[in-house]
Symmetry: C2
Subunit: 159 residues, 2 copies
């Protein structure tokens, strides 16, 4: 708790309200397209995509949670759903009995391949069309900065 609040400057406030707008609108916009065309959430898509990028299409829950920026709890619920649909399967890890591994099935791969073009087109048209290379670099830098700070703050409070 601080005694004096460091308020935002006018420029910061403008930037903040727009960023809040992105948070409030972009997620739903992506969900809406994927739901309509492929009956899945953006987060579902991310899970399948992150699995597909692993050599053997397999990851541990914790690893996948990290790659998708999700809590283990959220991931567990979603993996249960995707497993019911046959897109992924859980299997025990050879390394340790307390880790669960998730594998992208052939069906899951098929669904991902079908969903990808429409999703990428949506991301392109909502985010990247009209952005310069400098803008893209700035976006990566700033977004990376924010994610880092969030992760650092979670470490603080855990100790």
């Amino acid at each position: 708790m601080r005694l004096m609040t460091r308020w935002l400057t006018e420029d910061e406030l403008d930037a903040w309200l727009r960023l809040a707008g992105v948070m409030l609108k972009l997620g739903p916009a992506l969900d809406s397209q994927l739901q309509r065309d492929s009956d899945m959430t953006h987060f579902d898509y991310l899970c399948l995509a992150m699995l597909s990028e692993s050599g053997d299409r397999t990851r541990t829950m914790s690893d996948l949670a990290g790659k998708t920026n999700a809590s283990l709890s959220r991931l567990s619920h979603v993996i249960t759903k995707l497993e019911k649909r046959g897109y992924v399967s859980r299997c025990p890890s050879p390394a340790s009995r307390r880790v669960t591994m998730v594998r992208l099935t052939d069906d899951g791969w098929g669904v991902l391949v079908k969903a990808a073009p429409g999703h990428v087109e949506t991301v392109r048209s909502l985010v990247f069309d009209g952005l310069s290379a400098d803008d893209v670099a700035a976006l990566e830098k700033i977004a990376g900065h924010i994610v880092e700070r969030i992760e650092a703050s979670r470490l603080d409070s855990t100790c």
Copy 2:
């Protein structure tokens, strides 16, 4: 539907994954702080804040939905909740009988004033600390660009 997908470049993909990280982590981080310290959601806070910025602490539902980047349906549910807590009140509009006006009550104002310092401090520490003025300008430009494109795309599909 396009025949050839314009995939993302490597730089775009990096930027996109980080932006997705922001979407997935920043909202929950803000919710978590506000929930813990003030028993409210970030979206609740935004509603109260946007009402407080109006001269008479009053806005129509549609106007407030626009300011908070929300659907009318979402807003209606949340306003019902905030009304039950006594932070806002609904009243008819003198101009037209189909518009509902929402007013920030004194209690709501009090809650907002109490919540603001902690929230602003969180936003500052997660987003703005460590960003240069150029970064802030870039953030505003890019986030504004994305929000504009989402709004434009919604108009497309509505016609």
